[in-house]
């Protein structure tokens, strides 16, 4: 199931003019506040009628300005988690959650009320009305409501922004499973690179209404040119990996093209393919194999390029096997280590810095 979007829509001040394809899985829409993310999602949902362009889901045309096709909102069957909640104030939490069920087609399957309420921690408040919920609780209901409508696709506009870390950690794996097991495509807006890196198969970066970069998550997130969009702290590389072995002491050994990585126990079976994200600021560069360090992961490689930023830092791209790592170090260190393209170095990565949130299955 792939979603094709190609729309133009003028807004006072600037124009939204985007074209991208969401090939299934999770497509993250990323961009500054006001970049046009909600506008694009609204157009897909049918809540906004773009001036020109067309939108198609799995070959079915949802909207085509030229052919004058405009499938009504309720027949698009796209579960939309709104940025502003929009719960039905007159219905109990339970009836908010089950609202869409009666409209779902006969055969549609999916998680049940109990499962979703449990996951979202809403089981004790099913009989309350939205007026008696906290901000995060409201957002969770909105989330569950969209899920339970058995949609063909999910549209999520910052669904987790109001949630605390613990709750996020519960919901993210669920979203992953949803993506992997049901194949439900998801269009996902988030300001959190960590969330995007974990969930997204495809990343579309918007700036002032235009797509500045779109492609597979690994490529877009590892692109040193995108550092400004994601923020210096979030720059990093996403590498394909395979689960090599689960060790008895709770560590999992991953095989990447440049060597081995150890990280805390993962769920997937040995042999499974996965993805790891290594943040640039978590990588230490050494000119010799370090000894007596608590860091378990030391990968040999060669400097590919050096990029100076503003300030005292630089980004070093290191070729490790067929993959490219990013490391953020100070210019002072670069000089001390006499780094230059071609120089062979070791990348030192702490085990735990490849945290679970940053590992995603593909």
């Amino acid at each position: 199931m792939s979603l094709q979007v190609e729309i133009t829509h003028p807004l006072p001040g600037f124009e939204v003019n985007v074209a991208f394809e969401a090939p299934g899985g999770v497509t993250a829409l990323f961009g500054q506040s006001g970049a046009g993310k909600t506008t694009v999602i609204n157009a897909v949902a049918g809540l906004l009628r773009p001036q020109a362009g067309c939108i198609a889901l799995a070959g079915e045309v949802l909207y085509d300005a030229q052919k004058r096709v405009n499938l009504p909102v309720h027949r698009r069957r796209l579960g939309y988690v709104f940025q502003d909640g929009r719960l039905f104030p007159h219905l109990s939490v339970r009836r908010n959650l089950t609202y869409g069920q009666r409209f779902a087609p006969q055969g549609a399957t999916g998680p049940g009320l109990d499962e979703v309420a449990d996951l979202l921690g809403l089981s004790t408040m099913l009989d309350r009305r939205p007026g008696a919920l906290s901000g995060g609780e409201k957002q969770r209901v909105a989330f569950g409501r969209a899920l339970l409508a058995r949609p063909r696709m999910l549209l999520m506009d910052e669904p987790l922004a109001a949630l605390d870390a613990a709750r996020k950690d519960e919901i993210l794996p669920y979203l992953e499973r949803l993506r992997d097991q049901t194949g439900l495509p998801i269009l996902y807006v988030s300001h959190s690179v960590a969330e995007v890196a974990r969930l997204a198969t495809t990343v579309v970066v918007l700036e002032a209404g235009r797509v500045v970069r779109a492609g597979p998550a690994e490529q877009v997130l590892s692109d040193p040119a995108m550092v400004r969009q994601f923020g210096l702290r979030e720059a990093g590389a996403v590498l394909p990996a395979e689960i090599a072995r689960h060790h008895a002491d709770g560590l999992t050994e991953l095989a990447i093209s440049g060597g081995r990585l150890f990280l805390p126990q993962m769920d997937q079976p040995e042999g499974a393919r996965t993805r790891v994200r290594i943040l640039a600021h978590d990588v230490i560069v050494a000119d010799r194999a370090p000894e007596g360090l608590s860091a378990l992961n030391v990968l040999p490689g060669a400097v590919l390029s050096l990029r100076e930023g503003q300030g005292p830092g630089m980004i070093v791209q290191i070729q490790c096997g067929t993959d490219r790592l990013l490391a953020r170090i100070t210019r002072r260190s670069a000089e001390a280590l006499r780094l230059a393209p071609g120089r062979s170095v070791y990348a030192v990565i702490k085990t735990v810095s490849i945290a679970r949130t940053d590992v995603a299955a593909r």
Binding site: P72, R76, P130
Partner: protein
């Protein structure tokens, strides 16, 4: 109580209730439809429709009554059709009184409901649509419950108006005891005779009591509906 009001007066009370309830009951769906159309749709002649709906409010009731008489009287074009096709006679029957009351109450009911509809956030209706609800379902499950307080307010306003309607009724269906003599007509009749003030006053009291009861019930209902929405 039966001693306090004569049988003819009880008749007037019962008739007024029947007329008002039918008037409100039958016109309510139409009021909601009209209010929805005015609030949410854009169509040619919308201003005209709005104006026509308000006519009974603007015109002196006598004029409305005469127009009804001309249109729905037995010799009137519409009256003839209704009688032939549906066997429904309005002129000089309580059904006609109900029509007059409904017509006079219509602008009030429509206005109240329209205001309520305009206050509903279309974003909620959009949300319902994304969940698969067609327009009709959105209306039934989201819009209607949310405007319930307004619908109740409109219905009660209409009921009160119907209970008090005089000019159009007496002009359209005359003042026939037991058939078209509603409370206000009976009050009027008593006011026409010397010494009738006492009887008129009693009927006024009944009229006020009924309307107050309706008001109170409606307030309670509306508050309950509103509280559901506010959440608690």
């Amino acid at each position: 109580m039966t001693g306090w009001l004569g049988p003819e007066e009880w008749q007037a009370v019962a008739l007024s209730l029947r007329v008002s309830l039918w008037a409100v009951g039958l016109s309510l769906p139409l009021s909601i439809l009209a209010a929805y159309a005015l609030a949410r749709w854009d169509f040619r002649g919308k201003q005209l429709l709005n104006g026509v709906i308000h006519l009974p409010l603007i015109l002196p009731p006598v004029v409305t009554g005469y127009l009804l008489l001309l249109g729905f009287g037995r010799r009137g074009p519409l009256g003839g059709v209704l009688e032939e096709v549906f066997g429904l006679v309005l002129a000089f029957r309580w059904t006609g009184a109900a029509l007059a009351a409904a017509l006079m109450a219509f602008p009030l009911t429509v206005r109240a409901i329209r205001l309520a509809i305009e206050a509903v956030d279309p974003k909620l209706e959009q949300a319902a649509a994304t969940l698969g609800a067609s327009r009709a379902w959105v209306f039934l499950t989201v819009t209607l419950p949310l405007i319930l307080p307004g619908v109740i307010a409109g219905a009660v306003l209409g009921f009160a108006k119907a209970m008090g309607e005089f000019g159009a009724t007496i002009t359209f269906v005359s003042n026939i005891p037991g058939q078209t003599q509603t409370l206000p007509l009976a009050i009027y009749t008593f006011l026409q005779v010397p010494g009738g003030d006492g009887a008129a006053l009693r009927l006024v009291a009944v009229s006020v009591a009924v309307a107050m009861a309706a008001l109170t019930v409606s307030e309670v209902l509306a508050r309950r509906a509103a509280k559901r929405v506010a959440g608690g």
